[in-house]
């Protein structure tokens, strides 16, 4: 923490570089669990072309294609490009989208597809989403970008009262729905986003029948799930873990492909405890389970929900019926979070086989105060402890 304070106050030279005064990213010297996630080696990412193409969910056309190394914003970009190229009805818009977006997801798309189809909107989320719903209701496939998930609330009325209910209220009127609408938004913590650049509001949308809620964990998943969302005839809220835009890099099929919107994915088979999560915390879960397996001689199953609502209850219930223990992990607040729904479903579906209470390791019931983020977002130690509690109950 000690900084060369005196040298700074004596002679401030803007060009001269001082080491950072606060150690934001390094871990305590003796830490074994809460060390940094190594995205270069994590088994959750495809570091080679062959493991990537071996994915059984890929269609033959993708399996026989080549791969390229992409991070998550690049794979989102290639999915958007494919959607715009393959269907004239696809539109892409939002605040600052034209120059590439503040997270670079729409880079070069305005140039390639023109300003009629890829454009900046005025600064109004309710306007963006309402406009997008109208486009969808008249048969277009609008992809609306909300600059940060934290700023989706002005559009809440449009999403909850309109997008989710258009089909239901139209009844047997054919084709009257908001399908084709995808609302993309970067979500989750990055370490220094504080109250309004860190939120994960998925649970607010999973409460709303009529909306599909999707959160990808990696570049490969983002591309396939986004293309499936764009093809889907129901409105989709698509939350992109923004810390992964640059951090998660893997081999991604060059060809277009979709991934199922109704299936969770078992990332690792195991027999003693099921860990259920989605998005960024999966990487933390992976580290925690590696340590727990070594320390306790157990084997853990890891499940990525991917589609948070409607969700794949069967895969989760089957897994917990087998292991008898469940640990649910998410970044957003524990109170009335996605974990509450999953835990209740496990309780209903696996009551007689449960060996321990379902553990929830989540954000605390508070806001994301800037300097406290690392104590709020579930870390490896807290997840490890949750596994330990489930095992030793």
């Amino acid at each position: 923490m000690a900084a060369p304070l005196r040298s700074l106050s004596r002679a401030w030279r803007p060009s001269k570089c001082f080491p950072s005064a606060r150690t934001y990213s390094t871990h305590p010297p003796n830490a074994r669990l809460n060390t940094e996630i190594d995205y270069k080696t994590t088994p959750l990412l495809h570091h080679t072309s062959s493991t990537c193409l071996a994915n059984p969910e890929l269609p033959e056309s993708a399996k026989s294609s080549t791969t390229s190394r992409q991070n998550l914003f690049q794979s989102v970009n290639s999915a958007l490009a494919h959607a715009l190229r393959s269907n004239d009805s696809t539109l892409l818009f939002g605040e600052d989208v034209a120059f590439g977006g503040v997270f670079r997801c729409s880079m070069n798309l305005a140039t390639e597809f023109g300003s009629e189809r890829v454009f900046n909107t005025p600064l109004s989320e309710q306007g963006i989403v309402g406009f997008a719903i109208g486009c969808a209701m008249e048969g277009m496939r609008p992809i609306a970008e909300i600059q940060f998930a934290d700023y989706v609330y002005p559009a809440f009325d449009q999403l909850v009262n309109e997008a989710a209910k258009v089909r239901y209220r139209a009844g047997t009127n054919p084709g009257m729905h908001a399908g084709g609408l995808v609302v993309r938004m970067p979500a989750g913590g990055v370490g220094h986003g504080a109250l309004y650049h860190s939120q994960s509001p998925e649970a607010l949308f999973t409460h709303i029948p009529g909306l599909r809620v999707v959160i990808p964990r990696s570049p490969v998943q983002a591309k396939g799930l986004l293309l499936a969302s764009i093809e889907c005839n129901d409105p989709v809220v698509f939350l992109e873990p923004k810390i992964l835009y640059r951090a998660a890099v893997e081999q991604v099929p060059v060809a277009a492909y979709t991934l199922p919107l109704d299936k969770a994915e078992i990332l690792k088979q195991g027999s003693d405890v099921t860990i259920i999560s989605y998005g960024t915390p999966l990487y933390t879960c992976q580290k925690a389970l590696e340590a727990a397996e070594k320390d306790f001689g157990i084997s853990c199953e890891l499940i990525d929900l991917r589609t948070i609502y409607p969700w794949d209850r069967e895969t989760v219930v089957k897994s917990v019926s087998k292991t008898g223990r469940a640990v649910i992990v998410h970044e957003s607040m524990i109170n009335a979070g996605v974990g509450a729904e999953v835990a209740a479903t496990i309780q209903e579906g696996c009551f007689l086989t449960l060996e321990a209470p379902v553990q929830r390791i989540c954000g605390w019931s508070t806001h994301m105060g800037l300097v406290y983020e690392r104590f709020n977002v579930p870390d490896v130690a807290r997840i490890y402890d949750g596994i330990k509690k489930a095992i030793q109950y």
Partner: protein, 465 residues
């Protein structure tokens, strides 16, 4: 106790201090527009209908075309060279001493900005936003307000805090999230707030503060009348926002409700040409933000934001009008809209590289052309109230003070860990208390996994002293 509205207008001086709590209270408020309760008078040449009063009938099929209207003028007092333009105008009621205070405030903001922007680049703080080019709007308008007036800001108005006397140590404590930060290290840098200075804490979601300002102004109006304050003692609310934020529904809701409830609220839009990368051309098609005020029935002015005198004069007048102290307002409070024009010469924030969407020469050109600081300096120099020697001396002194505050704040401990849970509710809840306990257990059981030393009290900071 109840408030009755739409009652007959009462001159402000006649509003009595309210002693009897349960007596009905009357307010100085606009006499309701009268329209006939019966239908259209036969032969009338006017539409008589609630909602469009005094509209003449016409047989000419013609649409009003904004493109045919001349743009609203831009008020200025001094030109780019710091010369007073209209010599016949009543003389400026500004002493050199006052002008020098504003000049120093603008300089301080500018120097603070340069140092903190660079410090962010070096990784010493997570984020920063400068107000380069817009110092005059913040300092000039703030200087026209009374310290008791309540302010809601967006984020590029550091000059307000400086003008009201926010100490450098307070800026630095917020920026470095240390234990002296009144925001408890919770907010991103530049999200200052001060009860003492009557400035509400800055919140990142855009435009949310604008309807709040209208409500706050209504509260002040009722409270000040209740307290029997003289017109001179009454307060207004000033609300700042960018031209981008003015696209949000909240802006429109705010102006309309402020007008209908006759609130003493001054809306100050900083039109700097950009909302991150989005130029005004893609933000709106009307005549700036000012034209919208007219639509809501709000008295509006556009000013040259690089002319601190113009900003200050306009705000001063706006304040009188907002309180109903002018002659043409029937003595009744009302909202005012000011649109202050000044190009954003900086990047949006430290997270932005604006040369990805605008030409470097365009920015350089603007920088060379005009600037509120150099304008005021030229004015002061022309009056021999300032010179190169004083400039050097003052700049060096400000820099020294900023760096001293920087050094003192940066190494300070962070607030105690308990602050993660505090202030969500008035009191920490039972559930939160259990979570704090659980965190305490984790920190104890997994000691090596956490560095808690930078927080006041370390692990013990979780628990009440």
């Amino acid at each position: 106790m109840y408030f009755r509205h739409g009652c007959r207008r009462v001159a402000p001086s006649k509003v009595l201090p309210i002693g009897a709590r349960n007596a009905p209270i009357t307010y100085p408020t606009r006499a309701p527009r009268r329209w006939s309760s019966v239908s259209q008078r036969p032969g009338s040449d006017h539409l008589v209908f609630p909602g469009a009063v005094d509209s003449k009938f016409t047989t000419n099929l013609a649409f009003e075309r904004p493109s045919e209207k001349t743009a609203m003028p831009t008020f200025r007092i001094m030109d780019q060279d710091g010369k007073i333009i209209d010599k016949d105008r009543e003389p400026l009621v500004v002493t050199d001493e006052e002008a020098i205070k504003w000049y120093k405030d603008m300089l301080t903001v500018s120097i603070l900005d340069i140092i903190m922007f660079e410090a962010q680049r070096q990784g010493r703080l997570s984020f920063y936003m400068v107000s380069a080019g817009e110092e005059g709007i913040a300092v000039g308008s703030s200087a026209a307000l009374s310290p008791a007036d309540v302010i809601f800001a967006q984020y590029r108005e550091t000059g307000i805090f400086q003008q009201r006397g926010f100490p450098l140590s307070a800026f630095m404590s917020q920026l470095f999230c240390n234990k002296n930060d009144v925001g408890r290290g919770r907010n991103m840098p530049v999200h200052y707030g001060s009860k003492e200075l009557n400035i509400h804490t800055i919140s990142s979601p855009l435009a949310t503060q604008i309807p709040q300002a209208a409500g706050a102004a209504y509260a002040l109006k009722l409270q000040d009348a209740l307290a029997g304050k003289s017109p001179e003692e009454r307060r207004v609310v000033a609300c700042y926002f960018g031209e981008g934020a003015a696209s949000e529904g909240d802006f429109h809701a705010a102006l309309n409700i402020a007008a209908t409830r006759s609130t003493p609220c001054i809306f100050i839009c900083r039109n700097n040409g950009f909302a991150i990368s989005t130029p005004t051309l893609e933000q709106y098609r009307g005549d700036g933000i000012a034209s919208r005020g007219i639509g809501y029935g709000i008295d509006t002015i556009r000013v040259d934001g690089n002319d601190i005198f113009a900003v200050r004069e306009a705000t001063k007048r706006a304040r009188e009008m907002a309180l109903g102290l002018d002659n043409d307002g029937n003595g009744e409070p009302r909202p005012i809209l000011i649109e202050a024009m000044s190009y954003r010469v900086s990047h949006h924030s430290t997270s932005d590289d604006s040369f990805a969407y605008r030409a470097r020469v365009e920015v350089e050109d603007w920088k060379r052309r005009d600037n509120p600081i150099t304008r005021l300096r030229k004015y002061l120099e022309s009056r021999s109230a300032w010179d190169e020697g004083r400039e050097k001396e003052v700049r060096a002194a400000i820099r020294k003070d900023v760096l001293k505050a920087f050094a003192e704040a940066e190494g300070e401990k962070r607030p105690p860990l308990r602050s993660l849970w505090e202030d969500v509710y008035e009191n920490v809840t039972e559930e939160q208390e259990a979570q704090i306990k659980e965190m305490g257990r984790i920190l104890e059981e997994y000691k090596d996994e956490y560095d808690v030393e930078e927080f006041e009290g370390g692990r013990n900071g979780l628990f009440k002293a």
